[in-house]
């Protein structure tokens, strides 16, 4: 999960390193993921990992609905 100058740079990198071209996200989408996933205090005893349904809801809320995001 890396940050590139542009789609072209992500595409170049994928080709050079023989990696599949995956999913592109805007900065706003990544910030949304970061806030939803890590906004809670993981020191609290009652903290638990997100359930599959919670994760699916977060992805859908950020418009991440392609097969790449299927859980």
């Amino acid at each position: 999960m890396l940050l590139f100058r542009s789609e072209e740079h992500a595409s170049n990198w994928s080709a050079v390193w023989n990696q599949p071209f995956g999913s592109l996200l805007s900065l706003e989408q990544v910030w949304g993921l970061a806030q939803a996933w890590y906004g809670e205090d993981r020191r609290r005893p009652e903290w638990r990992r997100k359930t599959l349904d919670e994760a699916r809801e977060i992805f859908a809320g950020l418009g991440l609905t392609s097969s790449f995001w299927k859980l």
Binding site: M1, L3, F4, R5, S23, L27, V30, W31, R43
Partner: protein, 154 residues
């Protein structure tokens, strides 16, 4: 849940709290020995807890030493994602986790990284809960359903 399960769950909650507290306050991942001293438990109990927390996808351990490699969103080792907030600094595992560290602190923060294709450096800034605009795009290589096949490479 029987008595033994309740006890190990309590130990794991305590270990999780100590590890994240150390990371948030110092930027450095504690060793098993340091967690054991703080928890007043034998190191063998902390080793068992680290393994259970890895199995539960809360920690990722180094393959040989079994010390911490990741306590997401934090990396115990240097990465290309350097995060700072106030006088403190951390390493993030990826762009998502690096921004997650800033989200977790709830403070203004900066993230330094660079384009893996051309090396151009970026500093992303979060101010008052908002990520300031920058001409960049994130790329996720591995589909969501396979992230935990090899969490070190996603």
């Amino acid at each position: 849940m029987n008595a033994m399960s309740r006890l190990t769950a309590r130990i794991d909650d305590n270990v999780r709290e100590l590890v994240f507290d150390a990371l948030l306050s110092t930027g450095v991942a504690p060793s098993r020995a340091e967690v054991a001293a703080q928890a007043s438990l034998p190191e063998s109990q902390i080793a068992g807890s680290f393994e259970r927390l890895e199995e539960g996808h809360v920690f990722v351990l180094q393959p040989q030493s079994r010390e911490l490699l990741m306590a997401n969103p934090f990396s115990a080792r240097p990465t290309p994602f350097r995060v700072s907030a106030g006088a403190k600094a951390w390493w993030g595992n990826c762009i998502w986790d690096a921004l997650g560290i800033i989200a977790m602190t709830g403070k203004d923060g900066d993230l330094q990284t660079s384009c893996p294709d051309c090396g151009e450096g970026f500093t992303l800034q979060v101010r008052d809960g908002k990520l300031l605009a920058a001409e960049t795009i994130a790329h996720f290589t591995v589909p969501a359903a396979h992230w935990w096949d090899d969490i070190v490479f996603t």
